[in-house]
Symmetry: C2
Subunit: 105 residues, 2 copies
DNA sequence: TTCCTATTTCGCTAATTAGCAAAATACAAA
DNA sequence: TTTGTATTTTGCTAATTAGCGAAATAGGAA
C-alpha cells in the first residue's frame, strides 16, 4: 500500500495515470506524450507496476499498459478511511479541545 | 496541491496526521510518539505546514499543531476527481497478477 | 538580568531517485 | 539466419531528502 503513495507522489506518474484513465496505451505511445527519454518513462512504468496501479499486457513487441482502476479505487478509499474523511461534504468534525499542553513531560 | 502528495508520501508524516486526527497536540508531544530526533520531526512539521495540512498555534513556548481537516478532505476529493473514481465500491475488475514482465515463461 | 524549556534552523552525511545514453532483450518479418 | 522495432536494463550523474547533533531563537520563571 505504501508503494501507492510513492507512485502518486511524482507528477509524471500522475499524468501517466490520467492518460490511462482515458484509454489503454502502449509504452511508446505514453512516452510520446512526454519530453522525457524512454528509459525514464520505463522507470516510471516499473514504479506503477510495483504499486499494481497498471497492468502490462504484451502483444507482439509492444506492451499495452492498462489502468488498474480497482487498485486506485481501493487506495483512495483506504486513504479516506485512514484519515476518517467522508466522501460527503463534511459535518463539523469536533476537534478535541483538551490538548493537555504542558503534558506529562 | 502537489505539496499535499509530497506530504502524504512519507510514512512518518502520515502517522503524524493520524495522531492529529484524534486530537491536537504540541510538537513535543507528537515527537514523543516517534523514535526520531526532534529536529527531524520539526522538518516533517514544516512539510505538513507547507501543504497546509496542519496549522500551528503558538501558546507560550509550545506550538500546538492541529489537523486541517478541510485541506485533507479537499485533497482527497481532488484526487478522486482527477482519476474519476467514485466513492462507491466498484465492480471487481482484473487485478494485476505480476508486476514483472515476461511472466511465467 | 539569568536560567530553563520548547522548537526551529544550521551544517552535514547517507540514502533515494529522476534523468540520460548506451547496451541488452524480445519479438516479428524477411 | 539477419534486420528492424519496441521496451527494458545497465551504469552513471545531479538533485532531493530524511536523518542527526549542535547552535540559535523565543518565551516564562526566578
Amino acid at each position: 500500500m505504501s508503494e501507492v503513495y510513492k507512485a502518486l507522489a511524482d507528477p509524471t506518474r500522475r499524468r501517466i495515470l490520467q492518460l490511462l484513465r482515458e484509454r489503454e496505451m502502449s509504452a511508446g505511445e505514453i512516452a510520446g506524450h512526454f519530453d522525457l527519454a524512454k528509459p525514464t518513462l520505463s522507470g516510471h512504468f516499473a514504479v506503477l507496476r510495483e504499486a499494481r496501479l497498471v497492468s502490462p499486457e504484451k502483444t507482439g513487441t509492444t506492451i499495452i499498459y492498462r489502468l488498474n482502476v480497482s487498485v486506485l479505487e481501493e487506495a483512495l478509499m483506504a486513504l479516506m478511511d485512514t484519515f476518517k474523511v467522508d466522501p460527503k461534504p463534511a459535518a463539523p468534525q469536533g476537534v478535541a479541545e483538551n490538548p493537555k499542553l504542558g503534558g506529562p513531560s
